[in-house]
């Protein structure tokens, strides 16, 4: 990808997709200098915590669903008495049977970044609950890095550019069938160079290329996204360790660094929203967003003056 602000392509990037060494190289060349400016000496520690991301990167020309491939991979590894590498990333050029939450269809033709990250669940529940937020922050940062400076997060982790959705995530728990090890399968779908959408998504979906006005180097973007995931998932472990030591969180006023990052990228707070478990099918209600709770829940003020913390479900903007 060519860019005027030094966001150049990785040297020696493979034609078939980003490899682990490409992600590492991007982190060394770009991520560490960038983070040092804001996070100083803690930068290497956070990146070490997140270094499992992209430990193995598996690339496919086509899959039905990346999540299914991840489950099959875990099952096969366990049956072969082998360990699954946490951070394994499965990427496909296109998916033929992808879907979002509530079995919603997700259009995944060639040109987008479609895949799944296998995270061996080693986080405490208090940290694990931030996985969704961390994934959204990572994607929003990567999209901005690639030129869409106005990309914003809509709670929980929808990435919008100009109010249209450019990326979505689906996180599912999975237990290995033999050893019952717990995994989080972090599914990601990011519209990069795919510019056509089904009729029902024409007004609500967009792609990075459409927004920046030129094709984007998909391999480069993959490395950037995985580097941002390295940082943001690393934050979960870093802050968990701080808290367990009794040091509290590291953000301003003792706030969790991930929540601080989420707030900087989101335009949700202060918005008028409709909310529900499934805003397209369930009974919904309207409210005004007043803030984000320490546990990542969305604080809403209802029209009768009462407040509600949304821990699950989804929102759509009304204003």
């Amino acid at each position: 990808m060519q860019s005027s602000n030094g966001r150049g392509p990785l040297s020696g990037m493979k034609a078939t997709g980003a490899a682990t060494e490409d992600v590492r190289q991007y982190i060394l060349d770009h991520e560490i200098p960038l983070r040092r400016r804001t996070d100083g000496d803690r930068t290497p520690t956070i990146l070490q915590y997140g270094a499992f991301v992209g430990s193995v990167i598996e690339h496919h020309a086509a899959l039905v669903r990346a999540m299914d491939r991840a489950r099959a991979h875990i099952t096969a590894m366990e049956e072969g008495n082998r360990s699954v590498a946490s951070g394994t990333v499965i990427i496909a050029d296109s998916l033929s049977g992808s879907r979002g939450r509530f079995a919603r269809s997700w259009f995944a033709p060639a040109g987008g970044l479609w895949g799944c990250l296998i995270h061996a669940n080693t986080l405490l529940p208090e940290s694990r609950r931030f996985l969704s937020l961390a994934t959204g922050v990572a994607c929003c940062e990567a999209i901005r890095q690639a030129g869409a400076d106005d990309a914003r997060l809509r709670w929980v982790n929808d990435v919008l550019i100009g109010g249209k959705k450019a990326a979505g995530f689906l996180i599912q728990g999975f237990s290995g069938p033999r050893h019952l090890d717990a995994y989080d399968l972090i599914g990601f779908g990011i519209n990069i160079n795919n510019r056509s959408f089904p009729d029902e998504l024409q007004n609500s979906a967009t792609s990075l290329a459409e927004e920046v006005g030129h094709p984007v180097d998909l391999h480069y973007f993959t490395a950037v996204f995985l580097a941002k995931l390295t940082w943001n998932l690393g934050l979960l472990y870093f802050e968990e360790a701080n808290d367990l030591r009794g040091d509290g969180f590291s953000g301003r006023n003792g706030e969790h660094l991930l929540l601080e990052g989420w707030k900087e990228l989101s335009d949700t707070i202060g918005r008028r929203v409709v909310f529900g478990q499934n805003v397209f099918e369930d009974q919904t209600a309207e409210a005004t967003v007043t803030g984000l709770d320490d546990d990542g829940g969305l604080r809403l003020r209802l029209d009768d003056g009462s407040s509600l913390a949304l821990q699950s479900g989804e929102i759509r903007y009304r204003d």
Binding site: R129, I171, S306, S312
Partner: protein, 218 residues
């Protein structure tokens, strides 16, 4: 979980004292200020999503962060540790007790909880039956749905992370459902109560007996 019930003893207990006594303990260490008097009435959370908090019971302050703790049930403050008011307390220290008047349905559920296998919530989250279980419940009703260990029965939903929950108890029918879609369940609270087929007559006996005794009392 018990297999036999001494109805006379249990019903006698509920007849003589039809209340549940709920201890309210300090949520964490801190300076406590009690905000309800002994004998005072307290209200439970209300609203469509139980989002309107119950009566404020006490304020606890740690490192200049104050938190107001509210009642999770309705009732009367039956006792209060007034000597702790204005003092620094440890996490878990008992501050007061709420006497909650029990309804017939709650009494039946309390007795059933001693007989049913209770399947607990692994995390504080929202819970939904899995698609397969939900469709079977819609067709036949929960009490006609048999589940076995290893069945995917529930989806835990938290911050857009959905985790399938697998049943790990004894085979049986879903007799009681303790969660409502859209309402968060605390970690450890029961999600469902499962009854082994051979215990169904016992369950029916409990319900019939409580209803008969209670209605006769009224």
């Amino acid at each position: 979980m018990v297999h036999e019930i001494d109805f006379d003893e249990i019903l006698g207990k509920y007849r003589s004292d039809p209340y549940d006594y709920i201890d309210v303990c300090a949520t964490h260490t801190g300076l406590v200020r009690c905000l309800v008097p002994e004998g005072g009435e307290v209200a439970a959370p209300s609203g469509e999503w139980l989002h309107i908090p119950g009566t404020v019971l006490y304020e606890i302050t740690r490192e200049r962060n104050s938190k107001f703790v509210t009642s999770h049930t309705n009732g009367t403050i039956s006792s209060i540790h007034a000597e702790l008011d204005g003092r620094f307390v440890e996490a878990g220290e008992k501050l007061m007790t709420i006497r909650h008047p029990m309804k017939k349905k709650e009494i039946i559920e309390n007795i059933l909880k001693e007989v049913l296998f209770l399947f607990p919530a692994p995390e504080r989250a929202k819970y939904f039956f899995s698609l397969d279980i939900q469709s079977r419940i819609e067709k036949k009703g929960a009490r006609a749905v048999t589940i076995n260990a290893g069945d995917e029965i529930i989806t835990m939903s938290l911050m857009k992370r959905d985790t399938p929950i697998y049943y790990d108890g004894e085979p049986g029918v879903i007799y009681s459902v303790y969660f409502r879609p859209g309402i968060s369940v605390s970690q450890g609270d029961p999600l469902i109560g499962v009854c082994a087929p051979e215990k169904l007559p016992l369950i029916q006996k409990i319900i019939t007996r409580v209803k008969a005794d209670w209605d006769a009392e009224q």
